[in-house]
C-alpha cells in the first residue's frame, strides 16, 4: 500500500513510511495495555499468591515461596483433576459429533437461511446458561418427559438416576459449549471451495470418500479451534457439576471455587488455578503441534 501512496504522491514518502512503522503499534497499544493490566498481571499475582503460607492472624497469608504447595495440592486433589480432564474430553467428543453435521448443514445445505441458522446457534446464550442447565436437570429428572420416554423403550429402569450423575454432567458440558464448537467448524467449512468437492466427485470418489479425504482435512483448522474452545471451558467448569452432578462428580472447578469463596484458602485456590492453567496450556500446545495448525489466532 505504501507503494500506491508513493505513486499517487499525496505526501512526503518518508513521512508516510515513518507513520507506517508506528501505526501498528498505535493500533495495538490500547488493547494490549488492557490485556497486560487485567490479564497478565493478575496471572502473575496468582502465581505469587500460590506460594504463600498461613500467617499468624486468621485469613492472613505471608509470602514464603513455598513451592511445595504445588505438590501438596496435586496430592490432595489429583482425583478431581483427572476427573475434570476425562469429563472435558468426553464432552468435547460428544459436542464434535453433534456440531460437525450441524455446521456442515449450515455451511452447505442452508441456502439463504445460512445467517439465520448461525444466529440460532448463538441465541441460546441469551436465555442464560444457568437457566438452561437447571432446565436440563428438570427435563432429565425422574418425573420428567425424557425419563418417561426412555422408560417406555426400556432404556432405563425405574431406579436409574439420570440427574445427579456423571452422565448428566458430561451431557450438560457438551450441551453448554456446543456453540463454541459449531462456530469455528462452520467458519472453516464455509471457506471450502465447493469446486474441490466437485473435483473429487469427478475423479470417481463417492460421497463418503470425498467427505473423508477432502472435506475433513480441509476443515481441520475448525476442528482444532472448536475442540479447544469446548475443552478449555469444560475442564474449568463447576456449574454443570454443581447443578447436574453429585458429590462423586466434583470437578477441579468446584474445588477452586469453594476454596476461593467459601474456605478462603487463597494460596491453595491459587495453586490449583495455576496448575489447571498450566495443564490446559500443556495439552493445548501438544494438541496444536500434533494437528499441525500453528497459527490459531
Amino acid at each position: 500500500m505504501a507503494a500506491v501512496a508513493k505513486r499517487v504522491g499525496l505526501s512526503n514518502p518518508l513521512d508516510s513510511l515513518k507513520q507506517k512503522v508506528a501505526m501498528p503499534y498505535l493500533l495495538l497499544l490500547p488493547g494490549m495495555l488492557w490485556l497486560v493490566i487485567f490479564f497478565l498481571s493478575p496471572i502473575l499475582t496468582l502465581v505469587s499468591t500460590s506460594t504463600k503460607e498461613p500467617g499468624l492472624g486468621i485469613g492472613e497469608y505471608v509470602q514464603t515461596y513455598r513451592w511445595a504447595n504445588y505438590l501438596d495440592a496435586l496430592t490432595a486433589m489429583h482425583t478431581q483433576f483427572i476427573r475434570s480432564f476425562v469429563f472435558a474430553t468426553l464432552a468435547t467428543l460428544i459436542a464434535l459429533a453433534i456440531a460437525y453435521p450441524l455446521a456442515y448443514a449450515i455451511a452447505f445445505k442452508s441456502g439463504k437461511w445460512q445467517n439465520v441458522l448461525l444466529v440460532l446457534v448463538v441465541a441460546p446464550f441469551f436465555c442464560s446458561f444457568i437457566l438452561r442447565t437447571i432446565a436440563w436437570r428438570q427435563i432429565l429428572a425422574q418425573d420428567g418427559i425424557v425419563f418417561k420416554i426412555l422408560l417406555f423403550f426400556h432404556i432405563v429402569t425405574p431406579n436409574t438416576q439420570l440427574t445427579s450423575s456423571a452422565f448428566a454432567v458430561v451431557a450438560g458440558l457438551a450441551y453448554n459449549f456446543l456453540p463454541f464448537m459449531t462456530l469455528p467448524l462452520y467458519a472453516s467449512l464455509e471457506r471450502i471451495d465447493p469446486r474441490t468437492l466437485e473435483a473429487s466427485g469427478d475423479l470417481y470418489a463417492n460421497g463418503f470418500t470425498t467427505f473423508r479425504k477432502v472435506t475433513v482435512p480441509l476443515s481441520m483448522p475448525g476442528v482444532v479451534a472448536g475442540t479447544l474452545l469446548t475443552f478449555i471451558p469444560a475442564a474449568g467448569d463447576f456449574v454443570n457439576a454443581q447443578i447436574l452432578g453429585n458429590p462423586g462428580t466434583t470437578m477441579i472447578g468446584n474445588v477452586i471455587n469453594a476454596q476461593y469463596l467459601q474456605t478462603t484458602n487463597y494460596p491453595l485456590a491459587a495453586t490449583l488455578s495455576f496448575l489447571l492453567m498450566l495443564a490446559i496450556l500443556a495439552i493445548v500446545m501438544v494438541y496444536i503441534r500434533k494437528s499441525g495448525t500453528e497459527e490459531l489466532v
Binding site: 448443514a105 445445505k109 436465555c127 437457566l131
Partner: protein
C-alpha cells in the same frame, strides 16, 4: 424402501441438523413452558397455567435491576472490546511489525485460560490493590475476556477481503483515508458486527468471571444462580425466554434489512 433409503441418505445431514437444533432448543422450550407455571415459591413442579408471570415480570425483588445491570454491562463491555479488538485486528491483518508472535500469544492466552482462573486471578489483584469489586470491575473483566474473540472474528473478515477492491478505489484516485472509510470499513463492517454480537452474548451470559468480580452488584445470571437453590421465580423464565426471543428478532430483522439494502444497491 429403496426410495426411502435414497431420500434418507440424500437428506441425512439435514435430518441430523434438525436433531442438533432440537437438542439446542429443548431447554429453551422447557424454560418457555414453565414461564406460564402457576408456581408457589419454587418453579420446579407444574401446577397449572397462568399469565400472571408475564403480566408482572418485575414482580420478584431485584430481578429487573439485575437484568438492567446485565444489559448495561453488556453494552459497555461490547463497546470497549469491539473498539480495542478491531484496532488489534487491523494491526495484525494489515501490517508487518516486530513482536507479532508476542501479540498473537497475548491474544490467544485469555482464550486458553479457564474463566475460573481469569475471574479468580483478577479478583485477587483487585483485592490486593484495595479495589472494591462492583459494577465497574465487572465491565473491566468482560472487556478483557471479550477482546480476543473480537480480534479473531474481525481478523478473519479482513483476511477474506479481496485486495483488488481497495486497489480499484486507489486507482480511481481515492486517497488512503478515503479508501479506508468508503471501501475497507464498509466491507469489514459485517465482521465487526459479528464480533460485537459475540462479545455481547458472551458478556450477557457470563456467570463465572462475574461471580468473582461482582461485589454486591447482581447481574441476571447471578440472580438465577443465587435463587436456584432457594426457589427460582417463574419470572426468571419469562425474562430468559424474552431475551432469547428479542435477540432472534433483532438479528433476523437486521438480516432482512441488510438483504433489502443489498438488493436495492
Amino acid at each position: 424402501m429403496k426410495k426411502f433409503t435414497r431420500w434418507f441418505s440424500k437428506n441425512f445431514v439435514r435430518i441430523y441438523a434438525v436433531l442438533g437444533f432440537t437438542y439446542l432448543f429443548i431447554p429453551i422450550l422447557y424454560t418457555f413452558v414453565f414461564s406460564f407455571n402457576d408456581y408457589v415459591r419454587s418453579n420446579l413442579v407444574w401446577r397449572g397455567f397462568t399469565l400472571n408471570n408475564w403480566k408482572n415480570p418485575c414482580g420478584p425483588l431485584d430481578i429487573c435491576p439485575a437484568l438492567g445491570n446485565s444489559i448495561k454491562i453488556g453494552l459497555l463491555a461490547t463497546t470497549g472490546a469491539t473498539i480495542l479488538g478491531t484496532l488489534i485486528a487491523f494491526a495484525l491483518a494489515r501490517y508487518a511489525f516486530k513482536g507479532r508472535s508476542l501479540v498473537n500469544t497475548l491474544i490467544f492466552l485469555p482464550m486458553a485460560t479457564p474463566e475460573l482462573v481469569l475471574g479468580a486471578s483478577l479478583l485477587t489483584m483487585f483485592l490486593n490493590l484495595g479495589f472494591n469489586p462492583g459494577f465497574w470491575t465487572i465491565v473491566i473483566a468482560h472487556v478483557m475476556f471479550c477482546i480476543s474473540f473480537v480480534v479473531v472474528t474481525v481478523k478473519a473478515r479482513i483476511a477474506s477481503l479481496d485486495p483488488r477492491l481497495e486497489q480499484a478505489a486507489m486507482d480511481l484516485y481515492a486517497n488512503e483515508r478515503e479508501t479506508f472509510r468508503r471501501v475497507t470499513l464498509p466491507l469489514v463492517a459485517p465482521g465487526i458486527a459479528g464480533g460485537a454480537l459475540l462479545a455481547f452474548s458472551l458478556s450477557f451470559d457470563d456467570f463465572i468471571i462475574t461471580n468473582f468480580n461482582s461485589g454486591t452488584t447482581i447481574t441476571f445470571p447471578l440472580y438465577v444462580y443465587t435463587h436456584a437453590e432457594r426457589g427460582l421465580p417463574a419470572q426468571a423464565n419469562v425474562i430468559g425466554f424474552s431475551m432469547f426471543f428479542l435477540a432472534l428478532v433483532i438479528v433476523i430483522a437486521g438480516q432482512i434489512v441488510g438483504r433489502k439494502r443489498k438488493v436495492s444497491a
